[in-house]
Every structure is written in C-alpha cells, then in structure tokens.
C-alpha cells in the first residue's frame, strides 16, 4: 500500500476507537470522519487524547478497540511503515546523522522511488530551504527544522499528512507565516491534513473543519465559524474564544424562543439556537456581541438586558478594550468594545447596563461546574 505514489489525499475514518493506557483511558469510543482533501484540526487542551489519536492513525500506537480506515482500507493492524501516512512530529525528529537533503530523501529511498535526491531538492524548494540542503539538522534554527520536517513528510505525497503541533515551538510571527504557508501548500498539493493543536486561533485560521476534543471525546465538530457562533457545550464555549454564561430555569416559552430567569433578569435564546428547552439551562453570549450603556436601554423582545453592574476592570489590548463588569447576583460579565471611535471615557466604578441581541445567545447542553465562574 505504501508503495503507491498517491497524488490526492484519502479520507480517514475512525470507528469506535477506544484506547487505554495502564491506569487511564486516553480515548473513549471515538468516531471521526475526515473527508479527502480536507484540512482537519483536532483541537483540545493537553492531555485530551488528541496526540494519542494522531499516533493511532500513524500506527505508532494500536487501539484497544475499534477500527481505522484510510481511503476505505482497514489499516488497524498494519505497521506504521505500511501506512500511506506521514507525520510532522512536534519535536521534528530529524535524523541528526544525516544532512537535510538525506533526511528529506529518506522516505523516498525506503520506497525505492526513482531519483530521490532530485525530488527531495524539489521539496526543499517548496519550503524555501534548498540552500541549506547540505547542512546537518542541528545547524538549523527551529523554524528551519520545522520546514525540513514538513518537506520530509510532504515529499512522499502521503494520502494523509499528520501534523502534531508542529508550530508550537515557533515564535508568533514565524508561526503566522508558517500557518499561511501550510495552508497554501495544502491547497496546492490537495492532500488530507490532520492537524493536532491546542491553539484555537491556529485551528480556526487554518482548518476547514475543527473537532474540539476533551477528556478523550469529541465535544463538537464543525466549521470554525459554526463552532464559534454556536457552541453546544460549556467546554467548547470556553475553549474556543471567551463566553459569558448565565444559568437559570426555563420560565417561559414562545413560538421561537425560550427564556430563563437569572436573578430577576429575563434572558432569552432562539429555540433553534438552544440544545435544551426545559429545566435548568445555561445561556451564553460572546463578549464582543454585547454592548453596555450608562442608561438602562428600553426593553424589547429582541434584546437581552442585564444590570446595573459595576465596571471593575478595564484592559486595553490595542484593537479593543476588555471590560469586566460585576453584576450583583450574576457574577462577572466580560464585554469587548472595539476602539473604533473616540467615545466618552468610561472609568472603573461606572454603573452600566449590558445588552445583546437575543439572536446572538446560545443555549448549551450542559451546565458549568459549580466551582467554575459563570
């Protein structure tokens, strides 16, 4: 299988994958489908099982239960060297005893591809490192090593390219550059990319589809815009960007929306944006979707209003200001305001009302833990 020189990506399917290590379960009943040619990101905090998932796909670990299909073929029991998969390792793992060029040519030589050195040179050209072909990896900077690792994997034109937090060791500017470059390369070569990362910005920026993983399970999967606009669980709402969450019992239901009561405030969410319609639910909204004013806004059915609260902290971050507003009995609410126009300065201690469109609320399927600040 590995002998085929595929030009296009293949799809990846994980069926009911279960992985146990002595003493803990890393992955629980994971189902995942990555369509061919897609840039797919597995996003999650460290220890959520995302790297284990990647290693299972590469064949470096074998699942306790479940099956793995690449391009429709069952590869569950095949060895890593028999899989049409290449990995860009977090540590790069460039062979220290070989030159950069020999590193890149390694996979081609193993598969006895004709003219490995010329192809390796082409791959180095792609990552703009052909001038360093004769160096040893340890003579290169982190960013250069990362690009060599990428070239070493890409040159094989694998059906599936696995990226294990490959940008983690780079500084911000280089990381942004590499993100753009990676995305461009993926578009150009049309391979399937499975990218593991804990950086939500990186995942949203590059991926067509993002799967948010937590505690060995996929919490939610979808296009970055969908995940951000309509998170379904507390974890996703907090891990992907920031959220304000309000918890209360459903008190009234209309044709299109449901409302909860939070310390005397009526908070509504459209029915089609809520996971649960009954009982105690959590409703959230994004800090940049809310505004505040020093006068109580007129109530309407299309706006949620809470307040008055007191501004307890203002943080200037350049493009926006982040306001932390303490609302009695509700907790702290964060509001971002773009620094678009010069407006009357608001200082810590000011009394304000917070409002946002009902359309921008989202209802979650679970409730924040007791010790977690809503």
């Amino acid at each position: 299988m590995a002998k085929e020189f595929v030009a296009r990506g293949a799809d990846l399917e994980l069926k009911q994958i279960h992985k146990e290590f002595p003493g803990f379960t890393a992955i629980e009943n994971l189902d995942l489908h990555v369509p061919a040619g897609e840039f797919f990101a597995l996003l999650g905090p460290s220890g959520c099982g995302k790297t284990t998932t990647l290693r299972l796909v590469a064949g470096l670990e074998s699942p306790t239960k479940g099956k793995i299909f690449i391009g429709g073929k069952d590869v569950t029991s095949t060895k890593p060297h028999e899989r049409p998969v290449n990995t860009v390792f977090q540590s790069y793992a460039l062979f220290p005893h070989m030159t950069v060029l020999e590193n890149v040519a390694f996979g081609l030589r193993q598969r006895k591809v004709a003219d490995p050195l010329a192809k390796a040179k082409d791959a180095l050209n792609l990552v703009q490192l052909s001038h360093l072909a004769d160096r040893k990896p340890q003579q290169l900077s982190g960013g250069q090593q990362q690009r060599v690792a990428l070239a070493r994997a890409l040159v094989n034109r694998p059906s599936l390219l696995l990226l294990d937090e490959p940008l983690g060791a780079l500084d911000l500017k280089l990381r942004r550059e590499m993100q753009t470059e990676l995305k461009a390369i993926q578009m150009e070569v049309g391979l399937t990319f499975l990218h593991v990362t804990h950086d939500q910005e990186e995942a949203m920026d590059m991926a067509d589809t993002v799967a948010v993983m937590n505690l060995g399970r996929i919490e939610q999967m979808g296009a970055p815009e969908t995940l951000y606009d309509r998170p379904k669980t507390v974890f996703v709402s907090k891990f992907l960007g920031q959220s304000n969450l309000l918890v209360g019992d459903v008190t009234s239901t209309s044709a299109n929306s449901i409302s909860i009561d939070v310390a005397g405030n009526k908070i509504s969410v459209p029915k089609n944006r809520a996971e649960k319609h009954k009982g105690k639910i959590a409703i959230g909204f994004r800090p940049e979707k809310a505004t505040f004013s020093s006068k109580k806004p007129t109530t309407s059915s299309s706006k949620n209003v809470i307040g008055p609260g007191e501004i307890i902290d203002i943080r200037f971050t350049g493009v926006s200001n982040q306001y932390l507003i303490e609302v009695p009995q509700l907790g702290n609410i964060t509001v971002f305001a773009q620094n678009m126009t010069h407006f009357a300065p608001i200082e810590v201690g000011a009394k304000v009302w917070i409002s946002w469109d009902v359309e921008n609320s989202f209802g979650l399927s679970d409730l924040p833990a007791q010790n977690e600040k809503a």
Partner: protein
C-alpha cells in the same frame, strides 16, 4: 586522535593566552608531568632497549645500547604466527563480544527504559563479575571445561568431540575466555550510547516507510556508532596484548600463544629484553595504525 574515541567531549580548546588560559595550563601541569614521567620516559626507554644488542664482553642477559633495527626484523621473522594469531583472536573475540553485547545493551538501554529497577539490576549483573578476580574467573572456566568435566565427557559421549579431543588449550577456549572477560567493556559503552538514543527517531523512521530492520540499519546503528567504536576499541586493544587467557596456565597451550605470552617469556624467562621490547613497540605501533584506520574508515569522527 584514536584516543579521542574514548571520550565524548567535543569542546573546542580555546587557544587565547588569557587569564583563564594560565589557569588551564596550571591545571594541566600535574597531568602533563605525570604523563612525561610515567608514559613518555618509559616509552622512550622501551624503544631504546628494543634497539640494544648483546654485550660482546658480558655474560648472559647483558645488553649494551645500540641502534639495531635488525631486532625488529628478527622478531617479525621469529614470531609472525604469534602476531597474526593475536590479532586474529582479538578480532574474533571483539566481534563475538559485539554480537553478544549489542542485544544485551539494547535491551538494558532501550527496552528496559520503562522499568528502571530492571535496568539497574541488569547493569549490576553486567558489572558484578568484576568483584571477583579476573584470574579466579578464568581458572573457573578452565575447571568447567577441564578434560574430566561433565561438559567435555558429554561432548565425547554425543560425538561432538573425538575421544582424543579436549577443549582446554584450543583456540576456541582462548577466544571464549577473551570474549567472556571483555564483554563488560563492550556492553557498558554500548549501553551509554543506546541509553541516550531518542526513540522518536525510530518512530520517524518507521513513519517514513522503513521496516523495523531498515530502521535498525539506517537509524539505530548509525546513532549508536560512537558506542560501537569505543566498545570495540576498549576490547580489541587490551585483547591484542592479553597474555592470561592464552597462557598454558589458564585456558591456552603452546599452540595458542599470543604476543603477550611471547613478550612475557622473552622478558621473564629467557631474558631477551631487546626482543621483548621490540615486540611491545611493534604491538603498540600496529594497534595505533589499525585503530587510526578504523576510526577514519567508520566515518564517525564527528560523532565521537
């Protein structure tokens, strides 16, 4: 240069006559003085003795300084079989020790990594024989393979050895003894280099379509080359000059004599000091040439 193979430091020496340079010289002085007094002086004396001729007026075992290169031609002519045998045995024992030690060191240094206790226990087992005298252990093997031993009579019974054949005194026995005695010197350097082997390189190799055999040949073996080089040097050099295992008092016989045995008998028994010295210098020279060639050839100078 060959000696650099034993160390793993590759720090370039700074050559600036700075204050720290003076400190370095002061720190080096005792070592240099020691080397001068106890290495260079005897070496020079040895070379001088190797060129001496018998005192024409003196008696038995009396020699006068000369410049007799013929001593070397004489010992080469007289003892060529012993010289070849020494290097043959040394080569065989080194290869055997490498073949036995590599899997052992790989197991301790790589496979046993998740179990530090097992790792320590196995390392202790490798070193433990050192607590018993080298001579005693060699004699013990002589007992085990002695003509009346259970092993030898069994070998006779099943016909693997002809009734007139025995084990002690054969080249097999000597090579066996040499291999056994020098295995720890091979295992320990191999262990140190395999213990540091980053397993992520092996994963990368298999991810890049290399079968386990290929990963071993293309990744593990080259990365453990420094260990192989120091291990083989640490066994080959002392084995080539060894005179215990091959001696008739231990595992060998007159037909298994190595250079060490010849030097010993020339020096202590027939008191032919120039020949003994010439053989010693020759042994040293040949080893130096072989080792230099070997280290160059293996192309691992930058890894040393």
């Amino acid at each position: 240069m060959a000696f650099a193979a034993f160390g793993s430091s590759n720090a370039p020496a700074a050559a600036k006559p700075t204050r720290s340079g003076k400190v370095v010289i002061a720190l080096l002085a005792p070592g240099l003085a020691y080397l001068g007094a106890f290495f260079l002086t005897p070496l020079f004396a040895l070379i001088m003795v190797s060129l001496e001729v018998p005192d024409p007026t003196g008696g038995y075992a009396e020699y006068v300084p000369a410049f007799e290169i013929g001593n070397y031609l004489y010992v080469i002519g007289e003892y060529l079989p012993h010289i070849l045998r020494s290097f043959g045995y040394a080569l065989a024992a080194t290869v055997l020790a490498l073949l036995i030690s590599y899997p052992l060191a790989y197991f301790i240094g790589v496979k046993a990594r998740p179990r530090p206790l097992l790792q320590k226990l196995m390392l202790t087992l490798v070193i433990a024989p050192f607590f018993i005298s080298f001579l005693l252990r060699t004699l013990a093997w002589k007992q085990i393979f002695s003509n009346e031993s259970w092993i030898v009579s069994s070998l006779h019974d099943i016909g693997l050895l002809a009734p007139t054949q025995y084990v002690v005194g054969t080249p097999f026995m000597v090579i066996f003894g040499l291999t056994y005695n020098f295995i720890p010197f091979m295992t320990l350097p191999l262990y140190t280099s395999l213990e540091r082997l980053d397993l992520r390189y092996l994963e990368a190799g298999s991810d890049l379509y290399a079968s386990p055999t290929k990963v071993f040949r293309k990744v593990t073996l080259p990365l453990s080359m420094p260990g192989i080089i120091s291990g083989t040097l640490l066994t080959f050099i002392p084995i080539a000059g060894d005179y215990i295992n091959a001696s008739g008092d231990f595992l060998g016989s007159s037909s298994t004599s190595m250079i060490g045995n010849v030097i010993e008998s020339n020096y202590l028994q027939i008191n032919d000091y120039p020949s003994a010295s010439a053989l010693s210098v020759l042994l040293m020279g040949v080893i130096l040439v072989l080792v230099t060639f070997y280290v160059k050839k293996s192309g691992t100078e930058d890894l040393l």
